[in-house]
Assembly symmetry: C2
Homo-oligomer: 548 residues x 2
Amino acid sequence: MDDELSFWGWGYADRFPDDDERRELKSQVETLLGFPERALMDPPTIDDVTIPESRLTVPESLSGIVSTDTVDRVRHTYGRGYRDIVRGFHGEFDAAPDAVAEPETEGEIEDVLAWATAERVAVVPYGGGTSVVGGVECDPRGDGAAYSGVVSLSVRALDSVLEVDETSRTALIQAGATGPELNDQLAEYDLQLRHYPQSYEFSTLGGWIVTRAGGHFATRYTHIDDFVESVRMVTPSGSFETRRLPASGAGPDPNRLVLGSEGALGVVTEAWMRVQPRPPYRARASVKFREFDAAVAATRDIVQARLSPANCRLLDRNEAMLNEVAMDGSHVLVLGFESVDHPVDDALSRAIEITETHGGTVDDAPSSEGPHLSDEGDEGRDGTEGDWRSAFFEGPYKFDALVSMGVIVDTFETAVTWDQFPTLHAEIQSQVMDEMEDVCGAGFLSTRFTHVYPDGPAPYYTLLAPADVGRELEQWRDIKQVASDVIEEYGGTITHHHAVGRLHRDHYADESPAAFRRVLESAKSSLDPAGVMNPGVLLDADATGGER
Amino acid sequence: MDDELSFWGWGYADRFPDDDERRELKSQVETLLGFPERALMDPPTIDDVTIPESRLTVPESLSGIVSTDTVDRVRHTYGRGYRDIVRGFHGEFDAAPDAVAEPETEGEIEDVLAWATAERVAVVPYGGGTSVVGGVECDPRGDGAAYSGVVSLSVRALDSVLEVDETSRTALIQAGATGPELNDQLAEYDLQLRHYPQSYEFSTLGGWIVTRAGGHFATRYTHIDDFVESVRMVTPSGSFETRRLPASGAGPDPNRLVLGSEGALGVVTEAWMRVQPRPPYRARASVKFREFDAAVAATRDIVQARLSPANCRLLDRNEAMLNEVAMDGSHVLVLGFESVDHPVDDALSRAIEITETHGGTVDDAPSSEGPHLSDEGDEGRDGTEGDWRSAFFEGPYKFDALVSMGVIVDTFETAVTWDQFPTLHAEIQSQVMDEMEDVCGAGFLSTRFTHVYPDGPAPYYTLLAPADVGRELEQWRDIKQVASDVIEEYGGTITHHHAVGRLHRDHYADESPAAFRRVLESAKSSLDPAGVMNPGVLLDADATGGER
């Protein structure tokens, strides 16, 4: 049972922090953040959970692949956002799908979609189930209400690398493969995808594509969008398959309709992906700043110099402290360069030189021998980058432990142009902090840049606040609303890489061009005439068939 | 009259080669290519041209901006592909639009679209008029037949840089600005767009966006797609305006629907574009190869090493000869690096090292002082790059001169994965050469890579054949058909950066996913319910309203 996945929280069940670790965390929260005393609650067992009866009768022909088993349904109820963890922790699984389909072939997926279309069953494509925006939850009392049932369709059985083109450095990969699964198979060819979102261990290629995932890297080869050479999607009205091409100027790019479609148009089954050898050349350093504005200016200068660092992660002092990267009140810029072909020490030196003109001081000695952070297969974790890497992948387990002691913990992110960033950031700092104090009596907010562009950063915020257990979702909702409203008002996007799902649907409606939304609705009508595909993501369920 | 644009051919009328130049070219064609003796024909004068009566009566309210003047109509009849130049040269302007609109504001564009929608007038958005794929020609006897008239809508009056955000390095630019016009305005801020398609002097920002133009650079910052931060388009059903963002993961990217839309959805009026300072650091060299395969392998290794050259233009021996870059039978790889921030000599050295492992030898000495080719404002034109630059921008005038002596001259281009390139290239060489010999008795075919990607090159072909004057369009059509069929059969795309227009419509239909074409049709129905926007580009006119 060592590698059994948690049914209510992040990742592997046995990685949930034990009582000693949780007591230590509790004391940190109380002393370091000054939160009132927290009580440790025990995590649920699956026997504690009750869920509604399934509304569906599975036809004989699908009985081999569609199940109404309670445990299957529990395991496919929620994503892994704060709201999901809280409900899971309290054993509340009322939003469970009526059935879970686990097809092993594309033909079986087509069979499920045909049944769903005929019987008006909502279909929720499910990969790793790590959505933090309600992307895999179609509540039978909400978006799923107008349907005869909701089926969660897992693509996890489609987990193979089917073909590798070593000359073009591309691979045909099935959508259900997780990060480690696909990289293990590519290792045979000394190739890697090199896409490391925080959910890397559990999330799947298909999920990355439909949510436009952002990888770990700060610049250039980081968005899954840019790795997709071609894609295949099964829709209720047939197959949607693009041509394998390095580039094309023929009409609007059809891949870009699939990227970000969040399961509302069909089920992605496989894609030709651009892959890379492991980069043997690396160089890294971290630089401390006393002033956040100076650190921001240095970061902007580096990216506008087109130095293209693999890592260019600016942590404000709270974030540096939270991740135990710097406890002295410094803001820290973690820099890393890598190459498959040539040394990158000069690029690092030049980046450091730029930071120095803004008052930065190198923290740990620059190194060109250490392994790159978050590179699967690298063992070393020395220096600031190592601390950071460790925190990065362990973060979600700590997140669950915080939930278990009545702490509201959430992250939100955006992207904004450099000219608008200072105002947006100041408004977030003041309004979100004020709201946490109003609603919870205290709060903590930290910031990092996950990605940077010549025209703007992608700031990422982590918030912590002491919850009134029982009322925590209501409190969280108030805080989340303020954060989202500020982002919208001051020129950001509601999501840089967390996707829209159901959680960001209203703000997405405000942000996206009305004319484009009408196009999206008509695209959905064309590919999914019965409106059964993941109703309620991106668009209101009733705009896309849910109320028909 | 010095800067008057030619009504029938490329660019400025007075740049059409004089008789001496044309006689020299004629002798080259006859001796170097072995074509039968050619006769020089005189270019037409505008007085020779007769065009059909306009079918339209312009309403009083639009009389200030819509004209049925013959010269205006002649000047907006064709693009600048081979077929266009031949018809123009022979004074055939039967495809002339019934009227030309020259609005000066977005409001006036809305007025024209409202009239067109009400009166069922086809609207052809017109920028620089440099389409080589029939993108600006809606023949009243063809795609325009089902309409009460065709109006060509020029956006050339909207030619201003409206706003510059120096912090984010972005600028709000109107769609009708040509390359020199927008760069002249950006020069005030020491910024440039650095997008240099061959049509740079005459084509417009709006045209680049709707055709997904490729710039001069071989890698990275070259596609207009990547420069667009946000865009505004007037459609018959209202404005389509995206948010200014450096990046977003919120749903499918709305900018990507506009990019490549070729005027079929609306009229792009302005866009926030990512701009750059002039790069002071440059390094360049050219490398000769005896074997084409070795040159291809070297090019692939350079791009897969992610060296990101600004220029990485491989000319096969025919192309090198045609452009007078090398007359000794060598294939030539022209390499250039540039940076706004740091020296790029090391990158060039490394690239040269790679070419040497494939048997390449440096031709002109590497230089890090010379100006970069095709950089407006640089005067020097020394070395292979200088020769090449000169040929690049002069090429279209030579093209017209060839037409005037009965030579079929055309270019076609594609992109294909590296694994499929050798077969595609061999088939093009043999089938297109065979076809030229069958149809014209002789032919010449040369190749270059205009752009390169880690997963494949974008090969670009130039063909020359002796025409039977009077039958040349029929001959050309046969050759073009073979080239397009081979591209489709052997895994290429019908266009890497020339767009689809009307010329590539059938092959685009075969190449693009059927499901995506249905989406595109429904998008068009949503934004352009009367189907008046540029009917016949991308999709058949009758699929999008032309037959209603």
